[in-house]
C-alpha cells in the first residue's frame, strides 16, 4: 500500500481520504446500492389504537383527555412538576389544589420536578414511539429529567410506520424518538425502568 502512505505534511483529512481512495482503487465493480424494502404496510385500521397497543408493549401509557392527567399523577403520588407554558391554557384548568405546576423549568432544582409535560411532534403507530423535536419541545430537560414525562400530541400527527417517520425527519437539528420509558438490563439482564430518563412515559393524544 505504498501509494496510500500519507506524507507527514499532509493534513489529516487528506491523509485519511487518500488512504480510502488507495484502498478502493483496486476494486473492480463496487457493490451496488440495493433498493430498500417497500415502505412498510399501510396502517391497518386506526393508527391511534395501533399506537396505544404498541406503546403499552413498550411499557408506556396512553391518556386520551387532559382530564385524566390529575388522576394518573395522584395515583403515583406525583404532585410537583413542570408544564410547557404554551400548553397551560388548555391543561391548567384540570389541575386542582394539591398540585404545584411550574411553567418555568429551573434546571438548578432538577430533582424538584416529579413530572414534566411537554409537546411532542408526533408518534409512530408501528412501534409505539413518541417523536420529540427541538421546534416543539419547550425544554429538552423537562421531557427527560423528571420521573414522569407526559408528551402531548395531536392524533393527526400519528404516523403509521418507521419509514414514514424517517421521511418526516425534516430540517429540525434534533429529533428524538422515545419508545417507552428509559430502560436498562445491565445488571444481570434484569429489566429496570427509569435509568436516566423517565421511569413513566405517558402520551396524551388530543
Amino acid at each position: 500500500m505504498a501509494e496510500a502512505e500519507a506524507p507527514a505534511a499532509m493534513n489529516p483529512r487528506e491523509a485519511i481520504l487518500s488512504r480510502v481512495r488507495g484502498a478502493l482503487a483496486p476494486l473492480g465493480a463496487r457493490a451496488p446500492l440495493p433498493e430498500t424494502a417497500s415502505q412498510g404496510s399501510p396502517a391497518s385500521g386506526d393508527p391511534k389504537a395501533e399506537f396505544a397497543s404498541r406503546l403499552r408493549l413498550a411499557g408506556g401509557e396512553l391518556l386520551s383527555s387532559p382530564g385524566e392527567i390529575p388522576g394518573r399523577l395522584a395515583a403515583g403520588g406525583w404532585t410537583r412538576g413542570y408544564c410547557d407554558p404554551s400548553l397551560w391554557p388548555a391543561l391548567g384548568p384540570v389541575f386542582g389544589r394539591g398540585f404545584v405546576v411550574e411553567r418555568e423549568f429551573d434546571q438548578g432544582r432538577l430533582d424538584d420536578y416529579e413530572f414534566g409535560i411537554t409537546r411532542a411532534a408526533g408518534a409512530i403507530a408501528e412501534t409505539g414511539t413518541i417523536i420529540i423535536n427541538d421546534a416543539l419541545t419547550s425544554r429538552r430537560l423537562a421531557a427527560l429529567a423528571p420521573w414522569v414525562h407526559i408528551a402531548v400530541l395531536r392524533r393527526c400527527d400519528i404516523l403509521a410506520t418507521l419509514p414514514e417517520a424517517i421521511a418526516a425527519l425534516g430540517g429540525d437539528p434534533n429529533v428524538i424518538w422515545c419508545t417507552g420509558p428509559s430502560k436498562t438490563a445491565d445488571v444481570e439482564g434484569i429489566l429496570i425502568q427509569g435509568v436516566h430518563g423517565p421511569g413513566v412515559q405517558i402520551a396524551l393524544v388530543l
Binding site: A23, T36, P173, E188, G197
Partner: protein, 463 residues
C-alpha cells in the same frame, strides 16, 4: 500440554463469572430469535438487504465521506479527521481546551475504548465520566467491558453493590432497582455540572449529515440536554447512504442487540440545538477516526467493516459463552472481535493472530449477523494470513504428520490398522498429548478406525 491463550483465559474464569456470561449470552440470543422470526416473514432476506447497503457504503466511502462532511459543515457542525488513535485523542482534547472545558460526560462508545480516550483525558486533567450504567460500573472498577452491548455481562449484583458502596455512589444494596436508582441520583448532577458531552454514532447519513445515536437508558440524550458542547467520535466506516436506509438498519440493530422492536431512544442529530431551544449544545463536533480502518478496507476482509456493533454474534458463540469477553484481550470480543481486533492492529497483527483460530467455525455468528457478514470465511482468511506470515500458533496441534498420512493411501491404511493398539495402551502412554489430556476426564471409545472403508468396499461389491 500447551494451550491456546483463549483456552487459558477460559480455564481461569471463575464459576460465578462463567455463569453470568453463559446465562446472559444465551438469553440474549433466545429473545432475539423469537422476536426476529415473530415479526418478519423472512428475516434472512432483510439481513442480506442490510448487508448489501452496508457493503455498498463501505466500498464507496471515497465519495460518501466527503458528502457527509459537506452536509455537516452546511448544518453548522465542525468536522475533524483523525488518522490514528493518538490523533483522535488529541482532537477531542483540543476541542475541550478551546472551550476551557474540564469535565466531560460520555455516552457509551466502543471507539473511545479502542483509542484509550478516558485514560488519555485523565492524564491531561480532564475528568471524563461514563454515563451508561454498565460502563459507569466498569469505570468505577477500573475494569474493561466484556461485551459490546452489555459491558458488565461478567459481573453480578453483589459485586456491583460492593463497588457502589466502596466508591460512595450509594449504600450497599443488591437489588438491581436500587443499584439503578443510586446511579440515576449520582449521575444526573454530573451531567448538569459537565462542560461537554461525548457520544459515539451508530450511523452517519451521507445525504443529510445526520448522526444517529441509540441508547436505552437515555444517557446520550442527557449529555445532549445538559451540556453546551457535543462531540461525536465515529469510525469512518459507520456511513449509510440515505436517510431511508435507516428504518431497516434501526429495526435490525434493536432486534439483534437487545430483542427490542426499537431502542428506547433513537436520536437524529444534524447540528447544534435550534436557536429557540434553551437546552442542548451550541457547538457540535464530529471526529472521523481511521485508526487502522483504511488498512482493513484495503485488505481481503473488508466485509467486517459492515458491522453495526449489535453483539448478536457474541451471544450465540459457543467460544464466547465459555471464555467470556476478556479472554479476547481486545476492545471487541467474540467472533466480530476475533476478526476485527487482529486486523485493526495492522503491523501488529501477529499479536492477536491466535484469535481467529479460537473458533470451531460452526457458522452461528454468520447466521445471526444482521448485516450478513461471513465471519467464518473471514476467520479462515485470517488463519491463512497467519500461515503466510509465519506467525507461530502455540497450543494448536501440528497437522504436518496428519497431512502426510492423509495424502498417502498406503500410509493411511497402515495407520488405521495400527490404531487398534490404542485399545491396549494405558492412558498415560498415549502418544498424542491432546489425547492424553482428553483421557484424563473421559474414557476413549474403542478403536473403530477403518470400518467405514470396509463397509464401503462391501457395498460396492453388491450388484
Amino acid at each position: 500440554m500447551r494451550f491456546q491463550p483463549i483456552d487459558r483465559a477460559a480455564a481461569r474464569l471463575g464459576a460465578a463469572e462463567r455463569a453470568s456470561v453463559r446465562g446472559g449470552a444465551k438469553s440474549g440470543h433466545e429473545k432475539r430469535t423469537s422476536l426476529l422470526f415473530g415479526d418478519f416473514g423472512d428475516p434472512d432476506a432483510l439481513r442480506r438487504l442490510a448487508g448489501g447497503i452496508r457493503q455498498h457504503a463501505v466500498e464507496n466511502l471515497d465519495s460518501y465521506l466527503p458528502a457527509a462532511e459537506a452536509r455537516m459543515e452546511a448544518n453548522g457542525v465542525r468536522v475533524h479527521w483523525a488518522p490514528t488513535a493518538a490523533d483522535a485523542c488529541a482532537a477531542v482534547l483540543g476541542i475541550l481546551r478551546a472551550r476551557g472545558a474540564t469535565r466531560l460526560v460520555k455516552a457509551k462508545t466502543m471507539l473511545s475504548e479502542e483509542i484509550g480516550l478516558g485514560e488519555f483525558l485523565g492524564r491531561h486533567g480532564i475528568e471524563s465520566l461514563e454515563t451508561d450504567l454498565g460502563e459507569f460500573i466498569v469505570q468505577l472498577d477500573g475494569d474493561h467491558p466484556s461485551h459490546i452491548i452489555k459491558p458488565i455481562l461478567h459481573k453480578n449484583r453483589a459485586q456491583i453493590a460492593a463497588s457502589f458502596e466502596r466508591h460512595g455512589v450509594g449504600p450497599y444494596d443488591e437489588d438491581p432497582e436500587a443499584i439503578t436508582r443510586a446511579a440515576r441520583r449520582f449521575l444526573r448532577h454530573k451531567y448538569m455540572a459537565a462542560d461537554a458531552g461525548l457520544t459515539g454514532a451508530n450511523f452517519v447519513v451521507a445525504e443529510s449529515g445526520r448522526v444517529v445515536i441509540v441508547t436505552n437508558e437515555g444517557n446520550s440524550r442527557f449529555c445532549l440536554a445538559a451540556t453546551r458542547c457535543h462531540i461525536v467520535l465515529v469510525g469512518i466506516e459507520k456511513i449509510v447512504p440515505r436517510d431511508r436506509d435507516l428504518a431497516l438498519l434501526l429495526n435490525l440493530l434493536a432486534r439483534s442487540a437487545t430483542a427490542q422492536q426499537l431502542t428506547v431512544y433513537t436520536e437524529f442529530v444534524s447540528g447544534p440545538k435550534a436557536a429557540a431551544q434553551p437546552d442542548g449544545p451550541e457547538e457540535m463536533h464530529v471526529v472521523f477516526v481511521d485508526n487502522g480502518r483504511t488498512e482493513v478496507l484495503a485488505g481481503d476482509c473488508r466485509e467486517i467493516l459492515r458491522c453495526i456493533r449489535c453483539g448478536a454474534c457474541l451471544n450465540v458463540c459457543p467460544v464466547y459463552r465459555q471464555a467470556g469477553g476478556h479472554a479476547y484481550r481486545s476492545v471487541y470480543p467474540g467472533p466480530i472481535g476475533a476478526v476485527l481486533s487482529p486486523l485493526l492492529l495492522g503491523e501488529g497483527f501477529a499479536g492477536k493472530a491466535d484469535l481467529p483460530k479460537a473458533s470451531s467455525l460452526c457458522g452461528a455468528c454468520h447466521e445471526v449477523c444482521p448485516v450478513d457478514i461471513p465471519i467464518p470465511d473471514l476467520l479462515l482468511r485470517l488463519r491463512a494470513r497467519a500461515g503466510r506470515e509465519g506467525v507461530p500458533s502455540p497450543g494448536v496441534p501440528p497437522f504436518g504428520a496428519w497431512s502426510i498420512l492423509a495424502s498417502r493411501p498406503a500410509a493411511w491404511r497402515a495407520a488405521l490398522a495400527a490404531g487398534k493398539l490404542l485399545d491396549h495402551l494405558p492412558a498415560g502412554l498415549l502418544p498424542i498429548p491432546a489425547l492424553r489430556a482428553w483421557e484424563g476426564t473421559r474414557t476413549l471409545p474403542r478403536w473403530r478406525g477403518g470400518e467405514f472403508r470396509k463397509w464401503l468396499k462391501r457395498r460396492r461389491r453388491r450388484p
